[in-house]
C-alpha cells in the first residue's frame, strides 16, 4: 500500500483540502484507489434544520426568508461531501466530483475511472487531495487506500 489512512473530519474542516502525497519509486502499470467516508447523511433532523436556517439567513433575501423556511424539506437530508482529485509528478490527473461515499477508482495508461485521466503512471511524487466541501455531521470518518497495481488487478484491493 502506498497510502492507507483512516481519519476523522469535523464540521470545522469544511471548506478545506487535505493532501496525501506518496512516492512511486518506479513507473507502474496502474494505481488503484479506494476511498470511503461515513456517515453520508445528517440524520439529526433538528440539527439539519438549524444549519439550513443559518444558511437561509446568509443566502436568501430577507423578503424571501419566510418562503425559504417553509420549503426547508427540499434541501433535506443534508449530506457530507468529500471529493477526491489526483496529481501525478507532472500535474493534474482529474477529480471525481460526485456524491458516492464509497469510490473504487482506477488510473492506468490505457484506462481510468470517470473523472480521472488515463496516461503513463510515472515514477515520482503523486498526491491525492481530499476536498472537504461540507461536513455536517459531528464527525465523519474517512479511509483512503492507494496502491500500485498491474492492469489485470483492477478492482482488487490488496
Amino acid at each position: 500500500m502506498l497510502i492507507d489512512i483512516q481519519a476523522n473530519a469535523t464540521p470545522e474542516d469544511s471548506r478545506t483540502h487535505v493532501r496525501f502525497p506518496f512516492k512511486l519509486n518506479e513507473p507502474a502499470c496502474a494505481i488503484g484507489i479506494h476511498f470511503e467516508y461515513s456517515p453520508k447523511r445528517l440524520d439529526d433532523d433538528s440539527r439539519a434544520r438549524e444549519l439550513l436556517e443559518q444558511s437561509f439567513e446568509q443566502y436568501v433575501l430577507p423578503e424571501r426568508l419566510a418562503l425559504a423556511k417553509e420549503r426547508t424539506d427540499r434541501y433535506l437530508p443534508l449530506q457530507n461531501l468529500i471529493t477526491l482529485s489526483v496529481d501525478d509528478p507532472d500535474g493534474y490527473r482529474g477529480a471525481c466530483h460526485r456524491h458516492d461515499p464509497v469510490q473504487s477508482l482506477w488510473i492506468s495508461e490505457h484506462d481510468a475511472s470517470p473523472g480521472l485521466m488515463k496516461g503513463k503512471i510515472a515514477a515520482g511524487e503523486w498526491t491525492i487531495t481530499l476536498s472537504l466541501h461540507a461536513i455536517v455531521t459531528e464527525r465523519c470518518a474517512y479511509r483512503l487506500q492507494v496502491w500500485a497495481a498491474d492492469e489485470e488487478e483492477r478492482g482488487e484491493r490488496p
Binding site: 469544511s14 471548506r15 483540502h17 444549519l51 439550513l52 444558511s55 437561509f56 446568509q58 443566502y59 436568501v60 433575501l61 424571501r64 425559504a68 434541501y75 443534508l78 449530506q79 461531501l81 471529493t83 482529485s85 500535474g91 493534474y92 482529474g94 477529480a95 471525481c96 466530483h97 460526485r98 456524491h99 481510468a112 470517470p114 473523472g115 480521472l116 485521466m117 488515463k118 487531495t129 476536498s131 466541501h133 461540507a134 455536517v136
Partner: protein, 329 residues
C-alpha cells in the same frame, strides 16, 4: 454571420452527471442545440470522447470545466488545458480568471445566487470581485424555466447593476444539465453570434462570448442593431463617442427551433431598455417569421441598451428573451 444555439453548462458521468458525452450531445441535438459546453465539475477527462461525439451527433462541443470550489462555482469554457481550482480562496479569484484567459478560455459566474453550503456546497458566489470587466459573463439564467426563478432574477439584476456601473460583461443561460430525463419546463438557449464562419466554430463561439455577442431566450431569437450616420453596430459592439442619434432595429425570429417551444399567448411585448430605464415598449401581434421594430434613440447619457421580450408562458407573465448589450462610449 449566424447565430449558434448553445447550451453552455452541462455535466456527464465524469463528474456527477448521469449521461455520457455522446448521450449529452444526442439529447442536445434533439432539443435543437448546435453546440454544447462540457463543464464537468473540476475535471476535463470527458473531453476524451469529444471528437467521436461531435462526429456522431453534429454537435460542436466546447471544452470547459466548472470550478466547483468552496466559495463559488465558476464556469470556464474554450480552454482545453487545466487550471487549478484548488488554489482559489475568497480573495484571489482574479488570479484564476487570469490563468483561464491565458489559456484561451472565458470565465463566468455560475448560478451566483443559488443557495450555498451545506444545501448546495459552494453554489452561492462568495468571491470578492475587484473588477467585473475581468469576467466574461454572468450565468443569469440557470436551470429550466429560468426566467421565473428568484435566484435568476437576482443574477439578472446583478448583471444590470454592473452594466449601469459601466462594466461590460455578457449574460448567458446554462441549464446546469445533469441528466437526460425529459422535462416539460421551458429550456433556455444562449445564442452566440458567429462573425467569421470560416474559423472553427469553437473559437468563434468563445470569441462571441467574450465580446458579448449573445442573445438568450426560452423561445424566439431576439436581435438588436443600432445604426448611426457612420456605421451599424450589433450586440456586443461599442458605439463611439460623437454618434448622437441612432436608429435601433430589433428583430424577433419566431422560426428558430420550430416545435421545440411554445408561447401561451401570442400577445408579447418588446422592450428597449438601458441605463436610462425602459424607453420603448411595443406590442407584438404576429408571431410568425421575423418581426421587426424600428425606433430612434438619442444616445446622450447612454451607457448601454438591450432588447427584452416579455409575454405569458405557462400562465406566468415573464421575460421570454433578452439580448446582451450594445454599449456607448
Amino acid at each position: 454571420m449566424r447565430w449558434l444555439a448553445c447550451e453552455l453548462h452541462a455535466h456527464t458521468l465524469h463528474s456527477d452527471g448521469k449521461m455520457t458525452l455522446m448521450e449529452l450531445a444526442s439529447a442536445a441535438a434533439k432539443l435543437g442545440f448546435e453546440c454544447v459546453a462540457l463543464t464537468d465539475h473540476n475535471t476535463m477527462s470527458g473531453l476524451a470522447d469529444k471528437e467521436a461525439a461531435e462526429r456522431r451527433t453534429g454537435i460542436a462541443i466546447l471544452p470547459g470545466m466548472e470550478w466547483t470550489t468552496f466559495h463559488g462555482h465558476m464556469v470556464t469554457v474554450g480552454l482545453a488545458e487545466y487550471v487549478d481550482w484548488r488554489e482559489a480562496n475568497t480573495r484571489n479569484i482574479h488570479e484564476g480568471v487570469s490563468a483561464v484567459h491565458a489559456r484561451g478560455g472565458a470565465a463566468g459566474l455560475a448560478h451566483p445566487f443559488r443557495i450555498g453550503s451545506p444545501a448546495c456546497t459552494g453554489c452561492y458566489w462568495e468571491y470578492e470581485v475587484d473588477d467585473w470587466n475581468d469576467f466574461d459573463y454572468i450565468e443569469a439564467w440557470s436551470g429550466t424555466f429560468a426566467p421565473i426563478k428568484t435566484d435568476n432574477a437576482r443574477a439578472f439584476s446583478l448583471w444590470t447593476d454592473k452594466l449601469n456601473e459601466g462594466y461590460r460583461l455578457a449574460a448567458t443561460s446554462g441549464r446546469d444539465w445533469h441528466d437526460a430525463a425529459e422535462t416539460d419546463e421551458p429550456i433556455s438557449v444562449t445564442y452566440l453570434r458567429l462573425e467569421d464562419e470560416s474559423r472553427p466554430i469553437g473559437e468563434e463561439a468563445i470569441e462571441a462570448l467574450r465580446r458579448g455577442r449573445v442573445s438568450v431566450t426560452i423561445g424566439p431569437l431576439v436581435t438588436l442593431e443600432a445604426e448611426t450616420a457612420g456605421a451599424r453596430y450589433g450586440i456586443g459592439d461599442v458605439v463611439p463617442v460623437g454618434e448622437r442619434a441612432a436608429t435601433v432595429r430589433i428583430g424577433i425570429d419566431f422560426s428558430v427551433r420550430q416545435g421545440l417551444w411554445t408561447l401561451d399567448d401570442p400577445a408579447c411585448r418588446i422592450r428597449l431598455s438601458g441605463n436610462k430605464g425602459v424607453w420603448e415598449e411595443s406590442a407584438i401581434r404576429e408571431t410568425e417569421g421575423t418581426q421587426e421594430f424600428r425606433m430612434s434613440v438619442e444616445t446622450e447619457g447612454l451607457l448601454w441598451m438591450r432588447a427584452e421580450l416579455w409575454g405569458i408562458v405557462r400562465g406566468v407573465t415573464t421575460m421570454i428573451a433578452f439580448t446582451n448589450a450594445i454599449y456607448f462610449d
